[in-house]
Amino acid sequence: MSAQLKDVIIKPDAPSWLLLDKHADYIAAYGSKKDDYEYTLSEYLRMSGIYWGLTVMDLMGQLPRMSRQEIIDFIKACQHECGGVSASIGHDPHLLYTLSAIQILCLYDSLDAIDVDKVVEYVKGLQQEDGSFAGDKWGEIDTRFSFCAVATLALLGKMDSINVDKAVEFVLSCMNFDGGFGCRPGSESHAGQIYCCTGFLSLTGQLHQLNADLLGWWLCERQLPSGGLNGRPEKLPDVCYSWWVLASLKIIGRIHWIDKAKLRRFILACQDEETGGFADRPGDVVRRVLKSRAQIFLQCSECSGLSSAGGSFPHSVRDRRSLSPRRRADQGSKSGSVHAGGRPAEGPPAARPPQLAHHHPHKHRYPHINSPQLEAGSGSGLISVSLFGLNPSSAHVSIQRIVFQLLKFKHNLKTHSLHLNASLPSAAAKN
């Protein structure tokens, strides 16, 4: 059996800085018929597409350039009688797009545009007896939807309308023997699901239920020699997983366990020098154009420190909605170790994840934190879960315009911080 690890090789001549002009060209060409078709294909996630685009613009301080009223009117037209919101006009309501709609309205401080009481009713109605959430009336259960539900309600300040304890119980029942989470109890741990669950636990103030060291280790194990991240063991790296993994690590306060320089290098190497755009890994054909783009910019922001330490959800929105999303309290420096010389603050020594994940909650590997309260933590937990789990071939054409606009303002993007030292040894040497 081969000892070869599944990974990619980054060629020595792979792009090592952000090719803004190329991306501008790529997007300028986006108005062709082919891309219109891709646009229509993605109609079923239109609401999320709009949200991604607006997020990127807002990150870049360019939100005012978007057509605010038109978008709000669109959202209004997408709210159904049951209170749920659909991805587009004439589509059925779904929790994924309900969240995206609420997020957009929060960005625009226009929650009064739709009937939010009805939204709350819709979300509440999707909670099942075991605490889980269905995505819509057809009953698909997934921890993604648990996240959507609490994220929506947190933004509306209505978390108490659901049975939070039961919701937490269900999510914890999806914790696996490796510390990760899947979509339902017993499902394989997966970076995307882990993101949803850690975001959920952050929003419900239950991060202490995580085994942060174990999970943090599982997450940082996603990093391959090429610097890229995969979504589960023995899979190839994919640029989208960078987001799920990084965001999760951020929430649990372990983001420094990833080698950021190598990750940055990987992301930049995913660029297509000829056509512009990002592929899912170096050497692949550029697909999933703009959905990835939104993620890429978020990742690049993260990697190059463009975003604030608080993550990618605007502070203004957090303040307006009185949110204090939580991160795991960190271990503390060498001198300030919580358990230096001492016993754990309470409880028996760290227990491990149970065999049957649906039994009792986990204890810490190194028991230390009883109250994970921190300064306003990662807003990245609030980035729409719609980014995950959908297979769009592209996204809303508005994103095209957004990104084109944003690329024109490259002098604001501090590209110099992304330009790697030319003498960095290639990751290829290791492979």
Partner: protein
């Protein structure tokens, strides 16, 4: 699929708008809202099908032609969840043959196995039929094309749990692991099956599984999944509780080493320290155990797994804080805080 449609020879496109039996319907063009953010040109076939789909939806028409049209709409875009909803409504309203629907969804999944909608639809049909008899074989077939298809595994777990089809699953898992011992999905399934059947409390089960893991490690040492599984199985009772295991791991270290083995070894030492008295097989005092554990962290951070050096250094520091006193002289690693730096990195 994306480029293909544009090459359709429009002369032979038998569009709905040209069909006599559809003449009574007024097609509904795409509505992007009262003030469309962008104007778009759609491919003809796509807009034809979806214009008529929207017309049917508007009328809430429950007819055979509507049912037929959902298939066309799905073929153009199987991710459109509204179309699937509508198809299910029609399946029930028209009392369609669910066996035939099973054949239909089988074909669709074979073409597009990585799509949430298709698997959810299949599950609905299986539930309505109350007949899971085809499922395990079908899923096995999909897994033979991609042994890690996350949707396929979800569906499999649902079928097995819902209809109590546990009997042959461990054997199935083993055959997959024969094909690829690094298939993390299969290892997860192994845990799933055992935890829902015999459980992991019986010593005989634990012994058998431990042996199985060690054998797989010998075949392919660099395998995160098997080590995760082994640790996951043993961690509740404590890694050092399994007699003779540490010895075997130390043996393997000489010939089949990997970062995962070293991490496991660290966990064994940590467990021994945590439980107070080192077991006989350790044959060393606490201080020696601590030193060995710290050596492992250093080895991993500096040589064997440098990409995760922050993590290994953190582990070493934490262990030292808990059980140690002095910093060992060899430890020249910088004292980076375990906590995330407050400034933007």
């Amino acid at each position: 699929i994306v480029c293909g449609v544009l090459n359709i020879d429009m002369a032979v496109c038998f569009c709905f708008r040209d069909r006599k039996e559809w003449a009574d319907l007024e097609p509904v063009p795409q509505d992007d809202g009262p003030n469309p953010v962008v104007k778009i040109a759609y491919s003809e076939k796509f807009s034809d099908v979806y214009d008529y789909f929207r017309a049917l939806l508007k009328k809430d028409e429950r007819s055979e032609r509507a049912f037929a049209l959902t298939a066309e709409a799905i073929e153009l875009n199987a991710a459109n969840y509204t179309v699937w909803h509508y198809r299910r409504v029609l399946l029930q309203a028209l009392s369609k043959d669910l066996r035939e629907e099973m054949r239909y969804i089988t074909n669709i999944i074979e073409e597009q196995p990585k799509n949430y909608q298709v698997w959810h639809h299949r599950r609905m049909v299986v539930e309505w039929l109350g007949d899971p008899s085809e499922e395990l074989e079908f899923i096995a077939q999909i897994l033979s094309q991609d042994a890690k298809n996350y949707h396929a595994w979800q569906h499999r777990q649902w079928v097995i749990q819902e209809y109590k089809l546990w009997d042959k699953e461990l054997a199935f898992v083993e055959s997959l692991l024969e094909d690829d011992v690094r298939n993390n999905s299969a290892w997860n399934q192994r845990h799933f099956v055992i935890s829902h059947t015999t459980g992991f409390s019986e010593p005989a089960v634990v012994e058998r599984e431990t042996q199985y893991c060690l054998n797989q490690i010998r075949k392919a040492p660099h395998n995160e999944s098997v080590w995760n599984y082994l640790k996951g199985m043993l961690q509740d009772r404590g890694l050092s509780s399994q007699p003779g295991l540490l010895e075997k791991v130390l043996e393997l270290k000489e010939t089949h080493c990997s970062p995962y083995l070293l991490a496991f070894l660290f966990d064994c030492y940590e467990d021994a320290l945590e439980n107070g008295v080192p077991k006989d097989s350790l044959d060393q005092g606490c201080q020696e155990t601590l030193e060995k554990a710290l050596e492992i962290c250093k080895l991993l951070a500096q040589e064997k797994d440098t990409i995760r050096k922050e993590y290994w250094q953190f582990l070493g520091r934490s262990l030292q804080d808990r059980y140690g006193g002095e910093v060992s002289p060899g430890d020249a690693t910088p004292t980076a805080p375990a906590s995330e730096p407050q400034q933007i990195s």
